[in-house]
């Protein structure tokens, strides 16, 4: 293709690329100037002095210039037509996905045992807790939000509120009334579902951006109530010493009444984590199964129809009020149960765990995974949550970049770059194909570009 270009055109393209890159560089300079160029610091006598960092600015601007220049030079000026992903490739991916699901479940079942076998009971703790349990909690949350956002198309930016309701439900009921975890788990789900309906009622008429803003406000309201109702929630200090999870009544302790003694094992703290891991896994698999069934049932189809076109739904006799409320309640109850598990894992809850950032992260999992795709959301959780946890482990990088280098500080930067990249190359998420819920002859995958986003 390059050969067919006439010299005149390639020269003009070079010029265009240079101009474009210069503009991008100028924008970067404008951004860098207030943020990067100057920094105030304190000297030994506690006086502020101005530190200028022009080499860093030059580096950032130069980097943007070079990247933008190569990008413009490579891409033809006219926007490439957005080719939908080819169905054959998509089909191959989907076939792969069918096995990926089963293989993933097997890998997850084996994960804690492999970790214990490789690293011993003490070494495995960190991996099971920080990676296994944390990722699974996010998978659970992502799947819950997937019902609301991915299926029903209701953009919910305050999803973490239901997570908080579930966590505090367990924390309060267990510490004040001594309710067992097994009783609290469904109660947390039901309570969160009630909050879901409470949120759903006032926002029934809202769609898209307006819905997003109101749900976001709802999330903040819940967090502020938890912060300020100190008599009940102990405010920012949070609720500590929440009873630990037990193995159906047998606590995970070293004594003769503990779990280890029951099975004649040598006591290890990792037992509790392994149990929690399998518990969350079992719950997640249940949620996944029910969601898949739901998609093939009238209610799930009504969710998807609601996402596609609410007015058409009403014209076909679908009760959109009941359908929306059910979607909110279902999504919320999953978050509520995840919250109870979260509280059981931490033994401590405080409002700081339920900031808007959490809602944004969960929403990012759904969007990056591909709205509506269960597997996509799980993959996104592994990549985003697992990836950012993994950065903590990369101490080896210190040997390259010097001892002051802290990889965890770059976590959000990398996640941000990954998101921009995803939105550029796969705007509909990792798995952007919709599998029909029913078919006459042969199921044909629907490309994501056709599916609605719930903007009505």
């Amino acid at each position: 293709m390059e050969e067919s270009l006439t010299p005149v055109r390639s020269r003009s393209r070079l010029k265009d690329a240079l101009t474009g890159a210069a503009i991008a560089g100028a924008i970067m300079f404008g951004l860098c100037f207030p943020i990067l160029a100057f920094r105030t610091d304190q000297n030994f006598s506690n006086e502020l002095y101005l530190l200028s960092r022009w080499p860093a600015v030059a580096f950032a601007v130069g980097l943007v210039f070079v990247l933008r220049f190569t990008m413009l030079l490579r891409a033809p000026r006219a926007a490439r037509p957005q080719a939908p992903p080819s169905p054959t490739l998509a089909g191959a991916l989907q076939r792969l996905a069918r096995y990926a699901g089963g293989a993933g479940v097997l890998a997850l079942i084996a994960f804690p045992l492999v970790m214990v076998a490789l690293l011993g009971p003490a070494g495995a703790q960190k991996w099971i807790d920080n990676f296994g349990i944390q990722i699974l909690l996010y998978v659970l949350l992502g799947w819950g939000l997937n019902i609301v956002v991915g299926l029903a198309g209701l953009l919910d930016l305050g999803y973490v509120a239901f997570y908080a309701v579930g966590a505090y439900a367990y924390a309060l009921l267990a510490t004040y009334f001594g309710w067992s975890f097994w009783l609290c788990l469904p109660v947390a789900g039901l309570l969160a579902a009630a909050f879901g309906v409470a949120l759903g009622l006032p926002v029934l008429r809202l769609r898209g951006d307006y819905l997003a803003i109101v749900t976001m406000a709802f999330g903040e309201i819940i967090r502020l109530v938890l912060t300020n109702w100190t008599a009940l929630t102990n405010g920012d200090a949070g609720i500590s010493s929440i009873p630990r999870i037990t193995f159906f009544g047998w606590p995970f302790i070293a004594g003769p009444n503990g779990f280890a003694a029951l099975f004649g094992l040598k006591f290890a703290p990792v037992h509790r984590l392994i149990f929690l891991f399998y518990l969350i896994l079992a719950l997640a698999l249940c949620v996944n199964y029910l969601t898949r069934r739901l998609r093939k049932a009238p209610l799930g189809r009504a969710f998807e129809a609601l996402r596609e076109d609410e007015i058409a739904c009403r014209s076909l006799g679908v009760d959109t009020v009941a359908t929306k409320l059910t979607a909110f309640a279902l999504g919320a109850s999953i978050a509520g149960m995840a919250g109870a598990l979260f509280a059981a894992r931490q033994n401590f809850v405080s409002p700081t765990s339920f900031t808007f950032m959490e809602s944004a992260t969960i929403l990012a999992l759904v969007v990056l995974g591909g709205a509506g795709s269960q597997l996509g959301v799980a993959l996104a959780a592994i990549v985003i949550i697992g990836g950012s946890e993994l950065l903590r482990e990369l101490d080896g990088l210190k040997q390259i970049f010097g001892p002051a280098f802290d990889p965890t500080q770059y976590r959000m930067l990398i996640v941000g770059i990954a998101m921009v990249g995803m939105m550029n190359w796969r705007p509909r998420g990792l798995i952007a194909l919709r599998t029909p819920s029913i078919f006459l002859k042969k199921p044909k995958l629907v490309v994501g570009a056709l599916a609605g986003e719930g903007r009505g």
Binding site: R301, E308, R314, G317, P436, L440, K444, V447
Partner: protein, 306 residues
Amino acid sequence: MARDKAPLLIVDQLTMRFGGLCAVDALDFTARGGEITALIGPNGAGKTTLFNCVTGFYRSCAGRIALARPDPDSPGAFRADWREELEELTRSTRRSARLEGGEIFLLERMADFEIVKRAGVARTFQNIRLFRGMTVLENLIVAQHNRLIGPALDLAGRLGFGAYRARERAAIETARFWLDRVGLIDRADEAAGALPYGAQRRLEIARAMATAPTLLCLDEPAAGLNPRESHELTALLLSLRDDHDVSILIIEHDMSVVMAISDHVVVLDHGVKIADGTARDIRQDEAVIKAYLGVADEADIAAMGA
């Protein structure tokens, strides 16, 4: 077939205002069962507003919209004149009343989804509203939502188990029937949004029919169709009326379609009815020619004369 000509939809003094704009002004008309009633009029005459009032998308400011739905199982048992019962229903606060062989409804007291579900009014839209990311078949299955969802306590059915399976099989058969009827059976598993324009129009009609309506409201179904397609549409609509016992209320600008199929034409202009009669009457009505067609628009006059 005198019983078929019983009034199906009675609109009395219907008024719809948007702020200072009076889109529909004290409109009266009656559509009869087993007939195709056309609503015509220039742009902005209030046709679509009237549709939105009838189907519950707008809450009318004043007036009455009454609909009769004879029981599908016992056609003929329903009485031809239900005016008296209607007056009684209007005086009460109820939304519907059971009569022998059928039920009458006051649509202005009902929510949009109830109008479809209970009164059996289905509609299509001027700008096609399909579930674009769902397949053709799924579009027709969603249309049968209320029959599929079953009793409120059928929890197993909610997840697609038990008695639901039989209901789903029946729904697929209904879908298959209507897809066959509009010539889309071979494209049942394709995304609705990927269909060509004419096929999307037909799919929207099939989807409305899948709700098993008594009254089908079509908002400009021939818009954007080529002559062959609009000829097929004409045949389809006549067959719906004659073979499937559906009454049709249609808004249409294509005069060749209107003249070919309408049993009864209502002409609106600026929210007011200016003529009401058979297609033949309308064709000769001076007020209609003046107000609607404009004197200069000879192509349309020729079409009317055709």
